[in-house]
Amino acid sequence: MTTPEEHILEVLKGLPVLMTRSHRLFLSIPREDLIKTMNILSSELAIQHLSTITARDKGNDLELLYHFMLQGVVITIKTTCPKNDPTIDSIVTIFPSAILYEREIHDILGIVPRGHPDLRRLVLPDEWVGGYPLRKDWKPPAEQEAEE
């Protein structure tokens, strides 16, 4: 019997999959390939469980991590987008539960998922004007004003 990891590695053969420890797989892809990869995950691996989407500020780039789970194995798809063009294809049509997580990253880091059906202001209060708090160069509104 093959373990879930072996099964995944078999399907994703040819892609640069990194295994840090058992049950943890990482795969870095360019952002153009995102939808293609997601389709593979969804159709060939029959993954339905998107755990969450993490985004982080790497300095000049913003890194996105899509954490999926299949039988206890966490598969993380990594991709980046530059800070001056923070857009990414939305995966809502493939994974409906991403609707929440994409709004979250839109709100706290200002990444725009293209094709997202409902991108209302969702981070922080409605009247929030202070920018994206989880970016590294972010400062609290009070400090921003003081600098100006």
């Binding site: 755990s51 982080r56 954490h67 206890g72 966490v74 539960s97 929440l100 709100d107 981070v123």
Partner: protein, 395 residues
């Protein structure tokens, strides 16, 4: 009288935490639900980047007061993975003990809350009284009833003595009897059945598609349990079963939780009887090398996943938390459709919502899958704000 919009929350007796469900009603039937969360967004993720790992131990605990230990466990597991630190076996067992005690207390708490939501206050009083037994154990071992501050990076801070062991085992006997009693009440009391059976239906396919987790998913017949799928702590050693039911309704969620109480009791017995000797704490450095790690655990409410990226300093570079309640929200919106107003509290309660967890980053969720079904989400929201301002009620 046409459609009525009823705001439940942010300050509402059904929700012990501030959230807002704007419910559109046609008579007593729910036409639409708009879920607005984020009232208790405290910016913890950003705050964590400004604190040292030691300080974060306590901050991460306060993401949520009910499943606090699951969060701390995830945090320490992440840090230890990056450090490559193997913690002592005894510490591992004590951590598992706490994870399970927490599940016990959370499930008892939930039973009471569910009883309260359907007006069964006697059940609420009884389960909470029994919950005190678990709380006493937690307090006895850790020194606090809720935020235990039990973990340190590299192990646990307090040991379990012989005396504690005896007390834990005694309490388990009592709790097992009580769990049996509640099971009987839940599946035989007619008025509970009237409120729980065929209420809040969540079909397995829908549950999978909307990534329901924890007892919510297991009540829809999906056998998902991180403790089995990706064993952490000492779950590999411990024998236990994953409880599922296939009724897909609130009653199923009650039964799953009651049976999980029984399973937890079994696990705790095993742990207490096989507690290995040895150290409980290994010294860890203050600076954590660069790296990244993902940790997920089966919190009482479902899969709780944390991501840590460290950059070689004393403070984390990015810490991300996704809590089970957030994952269950889309499913809740689905369950609420076409139900009665009276069922709203119990359906919401059935996922065991823990808004404190969810709101550490702010989110705004619109329950409508298809915007513009009644009026668009944006209009609805504007209307809601205006409504509050006009009525001055609790907005």
């Amino acid at each position: 009288m046409g459609y009525v919009k009823l705001p439940i929350g942010p300050q509402h007796p059904a929700l012990k935490e501030p959230e807002n469900f704007t419910i559109t009603l046609d008579g007593e039937r729910v036409v639409n639900v708009d879920i607005r969360i984020g009232y208790i967004h405290r910016g913890i993720e950003k705050l964590m980047e400004t604190r040292t790992y030691t300080q974060n131990l306590y901050l991460v605990e306060r993401i949520c007061g009910i499943c606090s230990y699951a969060h701390v466990y995830n945090f320490t597991q992440n840090v230890e993975e990056i450090l490559g630190l193997q913690i002592p076996k005894r510490a591992e067992y004590i951590r598992t003990l706490f994870l399970e005690l927490e599940r016990l207390h959370s499930h008892f708490l939930w039973l009471g809350v569910a009883g309260h939501e359907i007006g069964f206050d006697t059940l609420f009083m009884y389960t909470w009284q029994d919950r005190e037994v678990v709380q006493d154990l937690l307090e006895m071992i850790s020194g606090n009833r809720v935020n235990y501050a039990m973990n340190a990076i590299g192990g646990v801070r307090r040991d379990v003595s012989q005396e504690h062991r005896k007390k834990v085992l005694e309490s388990m006997d009592y709790l097992e009897k009580r769990a049996e009693f509640y099971k009987n009440v839940a599946i035989n009391e007619k008025t509970i059945l009237a409120r729980a059976e065929n209420v809040g239906i969540l079909k397995p396919q829908v549950a999978l598609r909307l990534t329901a987790v924890g007892p919510t998913a297991r009540a829809s017949g999906i056998s998902v349990d991180i403790r089995k799928d990706d064993p952490y702590a000492s779950y590999l050693d411990t024998p236990f079963e994953v409880i599922t039911t296939d009724t897909n309704d609130v009653l199923g969620r009650v039964v799953v939780r009651v049976l999980e109480i029984v399973e937890s009791i079994k696990i705790i017995r095993y742990l207490m009887e096989h507690l290995p000797e040895g150290d409980i704490l290994k010294k860890a450095p203050r600076k954590i090398p660069e790296g990244e790690s993902i940790s997920h655990t089966e919190a009482p409410r479902g899969e709780d996943i944390h991501y840590l990226h460290s950059n070689g300093t004393e403070k984390p570079d990015r810490y991300k938390v996704r809590t089970p309640t957030l994952a269950n929200l889309p499913a809740t919106a689905e369950m609420l459709k076409e139900t009665y107003l009276a069922d709203v509290p119990i359906i919401v309660a059935a996922i065991d919502p823990c808004m404190g967890c969810m709101d550490r980053v702010l989110l705004l969720k619109d329950g409508q899958e298809k915007p513009g079904e009644l009026i668009s989400g944006e209009q609805l929201r504007r209307y809601g704000i205006k409504w509050y301002a006009e009525r001055g009620w609790n907005a």
